[in-house]
Symmetry: D2
Subunit: 303 residues, 4 copies
């Protein structure tokens, strides 16, 4: 076994700090292992799946997802409808910084919606409606049934914001899958649109073949799984078809003791064949902590 | 302010214990408040939305969801594809009790898939495939496009297990919405079916009108929200259209400090207008803990 | 492996519910295993160590600790100075039920101190001072140096409240150890007393022999460890001397991923020889959840 | 309100990253606020209390505590007996890096004790015994009663390891308080020593005057509180006497919903007068996350 080594951070830059974390113990060690595993994914030219939750796109992490798409360092994105709408809105209008302890009754009166310590004015959703209804009209004219990835792609072409992952994903042909897209403001707008166009449809099975093709044709796959929910599960489920991810890094704030998918560690996924069991080196790790702090450290080297 | 009161559990039955919890402090108080709020929902004849996650249906909680459907004590169910498949499989084949610390590499070799301390043999999914493919063929003959609620309803008619919520929901016409249904073994089977029937579709927008109609026509609504993810968010999102749930009880194991929807307390939903702010009495509460322990206590009175 | 069994709670009383939890999965299973392990402790006539944290004594749990002492179902208590002071104060004056979200600036102005959703008026500490200073004077007259267990015992003789664990522990000669007692209002009062009596001392090594004697002379030992901190660690440390607890049940809200003692599961203690590794049956379990809900269920059968 | 700002980490060094965190939302914002508050402590020449738990000293964080003592950037340390023993042992012998999932039964057989993913061979405690018994003999000769701070100081003079906080604290006359010191291997060794020297005593009240003097004489005070337990509470309790800390930064992995002191946020301490309520600027913050990752970022600027 290696020895635990004390930090020596004087004059250390990012890279050195993360290297030192490797032998610092607890989650610092996991973070450094995560960096190593992502490095292996890239060395192995693995097809990389990036998943994240909506709240993260309301935070400063959004541009990091954009950078990974800009530099073509990820190949597939799986996320929620909320993530797509936050990215799109923030391409035009800022979100605000509040506090976890704000008075929610007062906020509601002021038309301020809270996501932790981030505030989204209701006006942002009025703006979204104005953009989505003409888009749906245009898409409907073209074809009555669409798919989540097509909606994400279209939205990506409607912005020029360099911090938008939709923009870069569209530009670099990185597919964005969102199996639960109707559960979002986009879904709500679909509902409004359908009132006058009842045959407008989002066929969620439409994206399955594209996702399966990518997954089955990849020589190696890697997953960078931020948070839980449907995005995490969908990346794992897709990789089940090919015998599991070759590499996986989870970042989570959830606990495993309730049997939830969101809190499940990478180990559990090994039992399912959603992650392969590494022969020699460590190929999967779970990092416990908030992605707004963990993720910049995890991918600093890449960017 | 009331005084904290010490427990007096000698000879106390369920009902008395929960009454005593009201003044015991910490989460015991929240649990007792949850019971009171559910009582108010029922007194007020609120349309009750029940949401839960897939892992809960792999546990002993499954029959409690069934009981609530049998007794028509809930009006709408929102859940994941995984929950639907676990309920259906368990109507025919048992899941097994393992341990959180089992060796996942060994389990994988034996075809045993782990959900916390619950084990699902791979054989169960072979069984599911045999049931789903003929079902899809039958549905496809009838109509090329279907919806998540229709799949759930059909599966409910295929079992007679009294502990199945699918069974009772189908029998008592309680709709089951599942906006992310393709993210599940059901979705995987859809993908297989589509290979020979490429025009088979699940239009997830199909369920939106039904959900909106129920929500908008309800005089009052209540939410019993177990766990997080898409199921929680969809119930809240639907109620946004009507100015919020009149009553809400969350049971969660997630934390709010990362801004996640899963960890968000009922307060945060008030800012969005997803839950109404109670005028006089408390109308919403978040109970921190594992539903396998909390939920039986929460609904014991109802059943 | 056993099958997961669905709940059947209609008409079920406490005992039946807990029996059903055994096969319900997740933490329900752990809770039921905890009941079984406590039953084994008693069957084996193990010397039982009960540890808990101060906040629990501010809650309704206090009387349950008292009941266990009354019925001589525990043999040693290890807890904090805060727990001792809350028990003593509440023997004379109630604590109040507030809310987790109260305005702490306002509370401070009103002399209301918050412990989660429990409120302790500052007046309670004025009362405590009036009781402690004469006690210290009396003890000092008798002997200049005292021990934490002696302070706890003396306080126990000063109340007649049947819901006080101090009362019953004193009456039934159950020792209360509190190695960190100076970190409390009791410690603060010691400091005030020492200003006029500088040779007044609390020799914390004084209790070590008594604790060691009990531990080393026991044929079997069991630990019921609620929460973490110094109380948990002290019970484990004492049992290290005898090769470990024969039985252990933890109830915790902390996580293991930061390497903290408070979040450590029973497994980790096995590596240290603080808990013995069971040969055949399960002899240790960790239950994740809030003690205000878990503990009444865990010990209902005993009381 | 400020806007949420996206990260721009290309070419960013530590300082820039932390500045960007300020507007990134969620815990990144809290971390950056923590840096600002520590800067205010220093600008204000506050007497700074640093508290941490034993597990942290088993990790790479140990040298950061040493650096803060070396540079006289903290004025008081409050910690556990375990922290003192880990620092002392690691001045001579390394701890090892393991894994959270190691087999604890096997570890025990090999004399390997686990703290999360850090391993302490039992041999280390044999070494400690050899150092402590002669020390106690020497101290006993000098004076029959000692205090926790005196033990810590003496141990600090016995090592020359530049990564030891004991070493630097002794050298720079920074007092180390440890009200629960007997709950540790040091305590166990005291017990052994007492068998032949029954009048050897650790008077924990001995340190109270020193701590009170520092606290009451300080013009301003600040607390950097890592983790919970007795160390956290003791720093807060001491500052209660002076109307509260002027500045406080907590780093925690615990949750507030169980009313525990360890999980309590800075807000709760305001109700007690343990932390002052800031008039204009923010003077207290709680950062959720593992100190092995958070703390190097939090204090990088200082070191």
């Amino acid at each position: 076994m290696d020895s635990v080594k004390d930090y020596n951070i004087e004059g250390a830059d990012f890279g050195k700090l993360v290297k030192q974390m490797r032998f610092a113990g607890f989650q610092a060690t996991h973070l450094a292992e995560g960096v190593e595993i992502i490095r292996l994914m890239r060395k192995d030219k693995a097809t990389i799946f990036l998943t994240f939750t909506a709240n993260m796109v309301a935070s400063g992490l959004r541009s990091l997802f954009a950078r990974l798409c800009e530099k073509k360092m990820v190949d597939v994105i799986i996320t929620t409808g909320g993530a797509i709408e936050h990215d799109f809105i923030r391409s035009f209008r800022p979100y605000l910084l509040g506090d976890f302890n704000m008075d929610d009754v007062q906020l509601h009166k002021k038309g301020m919606n809270r996501i932790g310590n981030i505030i989204v004015p209701t006006e942002r959703y009025v703006f979204l409606e104005k953009k989505l209804q003409p888009l749906f009209a245009k898409m409907y004219k073209h074809k009555k049934s669409t798919s989540p990835s097509e909606i994400a792609r279209r939205l990506g072409t409607m912005t020029k914001d360099k911090n938008s992952f939709l923009y870069w994903a569209a530009k670099n042909s990185i597919p964005i899958f969102s199996p639960g897209i109707t559960d979002s403001a986009i879904g709500l707008q679909t509902f409004f649109f359908k009132q006058d166009h009842p045959d407008f449809a989002i066929d969620v099975t439409g994206d399955m073949k594209a996702l399966a093709d990518i997954t089955l044709n990849a020589k190696k796959t890697g997953g960078i799984i931020l948070g839980g929910g449907i995005s995490k599960h969908h990346a794992l489920g897709a990789n089940l078809m090919r015998g599991g991810l070759d590499y996986a890094v989870y970042v989570t704030t959830s606990s495993p003791w309730d049997g939830s998918l969101s809190g499940a560690r990478t180990n559990e996924a090994v039992s399912w064949g959603k992650i392969k069991s590494g022969k020699a080196a460590r190929n999967h790790v779970t990092i416990d902590g908030d992605a707004t702090i963990i993720f910049p450290l995890l991918i600093h080297e890449l960017i």
